[in-house]
C-alpha cells in the first residue's frame, strides 16, 4: 500500500530508508530493510541451550541441568500435535517414551524421536549424569510455515488449501518429575469462592 505513491513522495521515502541501512545484528537482517515474513525464522528455542551460568558457590543447592530441543517444519497439524505434547507434560522421560511408543498417532513417532535425540544431547553435551534422571518440564507445539495450494471446487470456484506444518518444542530438566499436587473438587470450589470474594467492585453506591 505504501509503495503506491508517486513522484515526490516516493523519492522522500527512499531517502529516509537509505539512511537506516545500519550493520547486521548477528544473523538478523539490518533494521530498516523490509523482508517478507516468509524469510525470517525464529531460532530462540535453540539459543536457550547456549546460556552460560556463572559457577555456583559452595553453599548453593545444585542447579538442575536443562536441555531445550525442538524439531521444525514437521508435516503434521499443530492442533493434533498439541494432544501429544499435553499428554507427556510432567512425565519422566522413560514414561513419556513408553507412552508414545504405543500411541497410534503419526506425531507420536516424531515426538519420540525428538525425545530420544534430546536425551542423547543431554548426556553428551550438557553434562547430565543419568539419562533416565530427566523429566519433561515444558512441551508444546507451534505453527510452522504453511505452503498454499489450490483446492478445486465446482463451477470454476477454488479455495486456497494450506499444507500445514508444525514445530515441536521440548524442555528436559534433570531430576525426578515433580509430584503433581492432587486437587480435589473441594479445593477447586474453594478457590472459585475465593476468587469471587476478592473481586473489587468499582463505582458502587
Amino acid at each position: 500500500m505504501a509503495t503506491a505513491c508517486t513522484g515526490r513522495g516516493l523519492s522522500f521515502l527512499r531517502s529516509l530508508t537509505r539512511h537506516v541501512r545500519g550493520t547486521a545484528l548477528s544473523g538478523r537482517p539490518p533494521a530498516g530493510l523490509h523482508t517478507s515474513a516468509a524469510l525470517e525464522v525464529n531460532k530462540n528455542w535453540e539459543r536457550r541451550n547456549l546460556q552460560l551460568y556463572p559457577p555456583q558457590l559452595p553453599g548453593e543447592p545444585r542447579r538442575a541441568a536443562e536441555v531445550h530441543h525442538c524439531r521444525r517444519q514437521i508435516k503434521y497439524s499443530k492442533d493434533k500435535m498439541w494432544y501429544l505434547a499435553k499428554m507427556i507434560r510432567g512425565l519422566s522421560i522413560d514414561q513419556a517414551i513408553t507412552q508414545l511408543e504405543f500411541n497410534d498417532k503419526k506425531g507420536a513417532k516424531i515426538v519420540k524421536e525428538v525425545l530420544l535425540e534430546a536425551q542423547d544431547m543431554a548426556v553428551k553435551n550438557h553434562n547430565v549424569e543419568y539419562k533416565s534422571n530427566l523429566y519433561i518440564a515444558e512441551s508444546h507445539s507451534g505453527k510452522g510455515k504453511y505452503l498454499k495450494r489450490i483446492r478445486y471446487h465446482g463451477r470454476g470456484m477454488f479455495g486456497i488449501m494450506d499444507k500445514v506444518y508444525c514445530h515441536y518444542f521440548v524442555k528436559l530438566v534433570e531430576g525426578p518429575p515433580p509430584a503433581a499436587e492432587p486437587r480435589t473438587g473441594l479445593d477447586q470450589a474453594q478457590e472459585y469462592l475465593l476468587g469471587l470474594r476478592s473481586r473489587t467492585v468499582r463505582h458502587s453506591l
Partner: protein
C-alpha cells in the same frame, strides 16, 4: 480503509513539500501534482504456486540465458592462505622415564639434572639455525619468556579473549585448547614454579621449500597450578579452586623464524607414556560393553574394563 490511507498520503505529501521549501538554495519548486490513490480491484494479489509450476519447470533459466547470448566469464575462486604454523610436532621429544620422580641427591638424579642439551646434535643444529635468523635467541633467557607466554595464554583462555589467545597460541593449538570450552567456565591460576624451566629439545623443520623454516623448541616446566572447571550450569566438573597441584609439563613453542614478524607461540604439549593417570571426573560414565550374540549373557565378573594404552601423545 482507503480513506485514512488517503489522508496519511496527503499529509506525507504536504510534509515533503514543506521540507523542500525550507531547504536552502532550492530555487525551482515545482507545483505539487495530485496524488494517485490506489483502489483495490478484483485482481487476486496472491495465487498459490501450483498454477505456474509447469511453465517454470519447462524453461531452464541457464538455457534461456545462453540462447539470449549472455556469456559468463569463468569465475576464478582464488584465495591466498598464510601458513604461519606447522601441523604438528616434528620429531617429538621423548621424556626420560622417572623424570622429576628421583631425588636430586642420588646418582641417577644428578645424572638427570646435569643432562644438558649437548647430548643431542640435532637440537644444537636446530638452535644454531634459529640463532641465524633471530640473533636475540638465547637458551638461558628463553625459558622465562616461554613460561610467561604460557601463563598469559592460559589467563586469556579463562577470560576467553580470542584476539590475545591467537597472538599467544598457534593455529594448531587453538582448537585443542578451546574445544568444548565455549559453554564452560575455566578458573586457572599459576601459583609458583617449582624448578626453573629449561630447554630440553629443539628442531627446525621446513615446510614446502627448504628455506621456509619453523623453529620448535621443547621446554620442561615443573610448577604448581590451580585448575577448576565448571560446566554450563556452574557445577564443578574437575579440580578444585583451593588445592594447588604439582604439574610437570613439556611445552612445545613454535615460531616461523623466516618471517620477521613471527612470534614465539605455544604450539602444544607432550604427554609422556609414563604420565600418571589424571583425577577421575565427578560423574558416572557409561562404558560400552561387549557385543553379545542373541542368547549370550553378560558376565560382569569376567568382563575387564579396557584401560587406555600408555603411549606418548602430544596435545
Amino acid at each position: 480503509m482507503a480513506v485514512p490511507l488517503r489522508r496519511t498520503l496527503i499529509a506525507l505529501h504536504r510534509a515533503t513539500c514543506n521540507n523542500l521549501k525550507s531547504a536552502d538554495g532550492w530555487v525551482d519548486v515545482r507545483q505539487p501534482h495530485p496524488l494517485v490513490v490506489p483502489v483495490r480491484g478484483k485482481k487476486r494479489h496472491f495465487i498459490p504456486p501450483a498454477v505456474g509450476i509447469k511453465e517454470k519447470t519447462k524453461a531452464d533459466p541457464e538455457a534461456r540465458a545462453r540462447a539470449a547470448g549472455l556469456v559468463f566469464r569463468q569465475q576464478y575462486v582464488e584465495r591466498s592462505i598464510n601458513i604461519s604454523c606447522t601441523a604438528g610436532i616434528f620429531d617429538p621429544y621423548i621424556p626420560p622415564e622417572g623424570d622429576a620422580r628421583l631425588s636430586t641427591l642420588s646418582r641417577e638424579g644428578l645424572k638427570q639434572r646435569t643432562e644438558q642439551l649437548r647430548q643431542s646434535a640435532a637440537s644444537q643444529l636446530a638452535i644454531r639455525k634459529i640463532k641465524e635468523h633471530d640473533p636475540l635467541f638465547n637458551t638461558k633467557t628463553f625459558p622465562e619468556l616461554a613460561q610467561d607466554i604460557f601463563i598469559q595464554a592460559h589467563m586469556a583462555l579463562t577470560q576467553f579473549n580470542k584476539e590475545k589467545l591467537h597472538s599467544l597460541v598457534t593455529e594448531r593449538c587453538y582448537p585443542e585448547m578451546t574445544r568444548g570450552n565455549r559453554l564452560k567456565t575455566i578458573r586457572w591460576s599459576f601459583v609458583e614454579s617449582l624448578e626453573p624451566p629449561r630447554v630440553v629439545h629443539a628442531r627446525c623443520p621446513d615446510m614446502v621449500t627448504k628455506t621456509n623454516l619453523y623453529g620448535q623448541v621443547t621446554l620442561r616446566m615443573h610448577s604448581r597450578q590451580i585448575l577448576a572447571l565448571y560446566d554450563r550450569f556452574g557445577r564443578l566438573l574437575l579440580g578444585s579452586e583451593d588445592e594447588p597441584k604439582d604439574v610437570l609439563e613439556y611445552l612445545v613453542v613454535e615460531r616461523h623464524v623466516v618471517n620477521p614478524y613471527g612470534r614465539w607461540r605455544l604450539h602444544g604439549k607432550i604427554v609422556p607414556a609414563w604420565a600418571p593417570p589424571k583425577d577421575p571426573i565427578t560423574k558416572t560414565v557409561l562404558i560400552p560393553g561387549p557385543k553379545l550374540k542373541p542368547g549370550e549373557d553378560f558376565d560382569a565378573l569376567q568382563f575387564e574394563v579396557p584401560k587406555p594404552q600408555s603411549v606418548q601423545w602430544s596435545k
